[in-house]
Each structure stands twice: as C-alpha cells, then as structure tokens.
Point group: C2
Chain length 367, copies 2
C-alpha cells in the first residue's frame, strides 16, 4: 500500500507557480496551470494532478515542445463560434482562455462552441466545464490526447482516453459534473496494478495480439487500453465511437492532430492537441430558476432511489469529487510518496527545490 | 431461430402510411413517421422499427396520448437556440421539424441547438443527426425515454436507454454515424434471450435486488438494465453519467419530463418525452474540404489499423448500418415472423389489413 503525504493546498500552489515561472511561464499563466493541476489532486483525480508536473509539462517546457510565450490567435470567429490556435502554449492556459471566450459568446448568443488546435495536454476536462457554472450555463469540455486506446477489433493504440465533461448548475444540490475518460480506466490505473503485481479485471486492456489480458504488464508493453464497455459482448464499440466523437470535435473540427497522430509527451515534437468547448446559456431555453429546481429534483430522484443490496448510497456525477475537494482543502492534499519523490527530483533538475513539509502521512489514502 | 420475411421497402412504406392515416395522421406526417421507422429496419436496428408500430405509436394514437393534429409551437427563440413544444405529436414529426429548424439556424449562426418538450418516442436517434449531412454540418440528436435503466448502486429503473447520436460528413468514406443507447443493450435484446431461454452475459442487467443476473426474466420482471460499462469495476457509472447528461439536455433543459417521470408507452398519460438537437456548420470552423479530407483520413486510420487476432475487419460507427441499408433496399427489408404477425393483428384492429406478400423467407436473418 502506498504512503500518502498531505500538504496544504496554498503551499503546493506557491511551489508549482515558482516551478512554472522558472521554466519561462508568466506568473499569471503559472497560477492558472497550478490551479488546474491542483484541482485534480483536490478532487481525487490523482492521475491528472502533480504526478504529471514534470513528465507532461516541465520536461516539455524544457524541450521547447510547449511554448509558454507565443500568443493564442483567432483563426475564425462568428457570434456563436470560434476557432483558436493555441500556439503550442500550456494546455491549461489555452483551454482557460478558450472557455472564457466561449462563456462570453454564450452570453450574447445563447450558446457558443469553441474548437482549439495546436495546444497541449490541458489537465482535467472538468475544470473548464465547471467554469460555466457561476454564469448559469451548462459547460462542456472535450479533448483528444496521446494514443493509448485501441479501436474495437484492433490491437494498436490509435485513440486517446479522450474525456467528456459536462457541468450543469443546480439550486440546492451540488452541480452535476460528469468528467470521464472514454476508456474504461486511465493508463495510470494499469501502472498501479503492475507495480502492485496484481492482475487487472478482464476487459480493461489488451495485449499486443489484441486479446484481452489480465496481466497489466502486457497492456503497458505493446498492448492498449479498451474503450468504455470493453469487449464486443459488453458493447465496447460504443466507447470506441464516443472516443472518435471527442476526437472529431476536438481534433478534426479544429484542424489539430487526431487519432494516432496526436503527440506523446516524450516525443520531440509539438503535440498539436485539440480541444472543444461549449457553453449553453440556460436562460436562452428556460427561466434559470425553473431549470435549477428541476435539476435538483432530477438528482434527488437518483439519490433517494432504492439501493441495490449491499449498497448504502447512490451518487450522482461529481458528488464524490466535491466532497473530496472540500476535505482536502481543509485537511491537506494527499500525494503518494512516489509523487513527492518525483517532485523533488524535478525540482532539483530545474533549480526550484521542493522543501515543503507534509502535514502528516498515512498508509493508503485516508479517503 | 426466428423466421425472417422480406418485403419491398416501397410496399411497406405504402402500408405504414395508410396505417397512420387511418389513425388521423396527415399524409405528409404519416410519410415522415414511416420513413423514420423504416430507416431503422433498413439499417438493421430491428428494435426501433416496425416491431413498435402498434405498441409505441398505433395504440397511443388510438388512446389519444399521441395527438397527431395539435401544432408544434415555439416557446423561446434566439438566433442560435430554439425551444419547441411538440404538442404531444408523433415524435418523428416533432423531431424532424426541430432538426429542420436547427439546420436552418446553423446556416445563419454557424451552429444551433434546439431542445424539445412534450413529444413522444421519436424512433432512431440517428435519423435526425443524419439530416445534417447534406448541409455539410455535424448533426447531434439525443432523447430521453421511458425508464428502463437503473442508476449505479440502485435497483429500480429511473433512466431511459437515452441514446446519443452524432453524424459527421466525410469526403470519400461513408459518413461517421454513431447512434448508441447509453445502456449496454436495449430491453428488446433481453426479451430475445428470454424467449430463447438463453442466459444473458453478466453485466447487462440486474434483478429486483439490484444484483447482476444472467436470467433475462429477472431483468424483465422487476429488474433493470445497466448503463454502458455495467458494473462498478467496469466503470458503469460512466454510462450512468452519460444517460443523465442526455436527460438533462433533452428533458430538463426543455422543460419536458425527466428520469423516472417520462411516460411509458402503456400508460394513459402523455409521455412528455424531451429531445435535444444540435447542428454544427463545419464552414464556421474550417474549410469544408479540409475537414472532410481529415475525416476520411481519421476513419482510414482506424480501418487500416492492424487487427486483433481472429478479427478481419475494424468498423467505424455507422458503416455496418449503411451496408445493411443498401442491401435491404435492394433485396427486401427483413421482418421477424412475429413482427409480421403483430402487424397483421394491429392492421385488423384498426381496419387497414396487412396483405403484403413477402419476397422470400429465411431461417435467421441472412445478414
């Protein structure tokens, strides 16, 4: 079982900002990237948080495949649509800019869509979808990503874990926030099983012959993840179709890379990641208060429904993550000891020593 | 194995139009409903075709819970958004009107969204998404539906099989057309297994205790379908989240029924089904020719990829259905003998005798 160390979110934020600044990122942009990364660890989405600070961002800033200074430019714009070139910038900065513009346009047009090319890994999709919430809008955020998932009947990774996120405002309930990879699990989950020498459930991934394997090492070495649904019998081709849908709106519509051509973090070329954002101004459809009241009622239909034997709670999307974020904000952000080790190594490499003292440590994550 | 009878599509079309006309539907509207229903059988989506002619449409027209004469009215409209009241009309007619308006608006605004309340079951979602294709637009079509699917950790059906469809234009390849229920399988699939006294794969559905069962009768009698992904281990909560997303955009955003309150076909009340449509004018984002060329390339990346051992073909969404539709248009539309029997019974009941002669019959479906 992994050891977890807990740090104050403000102290981590300060460190990450300094880390990015050292790599040529402006203070304002570093603060954005830090906020998005930390929101992942706060929300319990460890796979998308500080674990990636160096491999996905630091190392690419050093190599110049992420350029933190080039401008974000408009390729085409109409009142309700916008296409942006991210200029190889930090994905978080590009995506936040794009969603900010999307929300502005939806205020005018009732709804808006923004597609982005030439960007980089943007962290958790849900961060940008949730930006719509204070504006009484529904936010949607999609992105393509490095190929890790095989098409149904294939054997090689040709699609990213291409997430779908949608955030919907509510009245008294917590907002509905779906933020899901279109693969069954992220690759990091398979790595965890591999390190623990545990077999994975049948269906998560395939070996290099394209056959379902329970050996995580086979998935990692020449195999691939399977899309949501898994095998044909369980309708894995639906997850495959959803992954393509995300790539069409993010990659093909924007003119970014798509499918097998999206850059991997370790490659020495621009990743040319594509994103897609939409904002739907509820007011353009229904009075906001009516909508929010119905949202509450919809969520309560689920939460108050009879439970399956052995289960004591029905969650709705985002609920667990909101609870985790509140807990971690008060009690410290948990980082695996390995992540802390990688932060120390990365800090030494670029000259921003990681010297934060943990609040405490536990065996296994306490939540 | 079921017996299949094959009928000329033109003859079936003529019959269905007369069937609907007898029930008070105008000729023009009957032609629309017939076209949508037949497109399901043509495309091999038997569960959404003539098998439902009486149970979903005929019986409800007779009871008056579908009203084929009331107008479709505008509740609210902006240049890029529209909300319609379907006036309890035939879902196919309401949906086709809504998507037609959506496409018109996207021509002006670059994209548009239309949400619809007070409608009925609209047939296959893909029909409306595909309406966008000749306009060089991406079409999206969603709908809620009678509750058949349990939320993760629940035991009662509270969500429809709430489909997601997206159609995307291409250059030389067939268009990409994803049209998928957010449950693993439709309820009709479980019925087929039940009639054949075969057990279903573990994960498709649960019994009345909320426990996964392989006995189809338990799913049908007090149990429920599971969302795409199935169990927690396979991330069924993602399918659950997608089903809620569809219902939010179709039901809550439009002011229709949602979740457990959507009417069942056998109930004596209006179903108040909600739909959602979007049209994205490719031109507002990229030159259409560039986009279509990239779409071809994306689809070919998948189709030409190395195959898993034992597989000789990788499909992309919609491909199989296009091939089936062409074959059935030339060689006759296959209807199970039970469906033909139900058509005859329904025809006798409402006074439009079903006397069509099949072109041939086969044991099992030949495709």
């Amino acid at each position: 079982m992994s050891i977890y160390l807990y740090y104050r979110v403000e102290e981590l934020d300060d460190y990450i900002i300094r880390f990015f600044e050292k790599l040529g990122v402006s203070h304002a942009d570093a603060a954005i990237a830090s906020e998005v990364l930390l929101s992942a660890d706060l929300r319990g989405v460890e796979s998308h948080g500080l674990i990636r600070l160096h491999t996905y961002y630091g190392s690419r800033l050093q190599k110049g495949t992420i350029d933190p200074t080039s401008p974000i430019t408009v390729i085409n714009e109409t009142p309700a649509t916008l296409i942006l070139d991210g200029g190889k910038g930090l994905g978080q900065v590009v995506a936040r800019t794009a969603m900010t513009r999307c929300i502005e346009k939806a205020k005018e047009s009732g709804m808006a869509m923004v597609s982005v090319r030439n960007s980089n890994h943007y962290g958790i999709a849900g961060y940008y979808a949730m930006m719509a919430l204070p504006h009484n809008m529904i936010g949607i955020s999609l992105t393509n990503a490095q190929p890790l998932v095989a098409p149904t009947h294939g054997r090689t990774p040709l699609l990213g874990t291409n997430p779908i996120s949608i955030a919907v405002p509510t009245e008294t309930q917590r907002p509905f926030v779906l933020d899901m990879a279109t693969s069954i699990v992220p690759i990091g989950k398979v790595t965890v099983y591999d390190k623990a020498k545990k077999s994975i459930p049948a269906g998560w991934g395939i070996n290099q012959a394209g056959v379902v394997t329970q050996n995580p090492a086979e998935v990692l070495n020449g195999g691939a993840l399977l899309p949501l649904g898994g095998t044909d019998e369980m309708r894995g081709y639906k997850g495959y179709g959803l992954a393509m849908m995300v790539d069409i709106l993010s990659g093909v519509l924007s003119g970014a890379a798509f499918g097998g051509t999206v850059g991997r973090p370790r490659e020495n070329k621009g990743a040319n990641v594509g994103h897609f954002f939409a904002a739907i101004n509820v007011e353009a459809f229904r009075p906001v208060e009516e909508f929010k009241k119905d949202m509450d009622e919809f969520l309560l239909q689920m939460k108050n429904a009879p439970k399956a034997v052995g289960e004591d709670r029905i969650y709705v999307a985002g609920e667990k993550e909101f609870e985790l974020a509140e807990y971690h904000r008060q009690n410290g952000v948990p980082l695996m000891d390995e992540v802390v080790k990688s932060l120390k190594e990365a800090g030494d490499k670029i000259g921003v020593e990681f010297t934060l003292k943990p609040l405490r440590e536990t065996e296994g994550n306490e939540m």
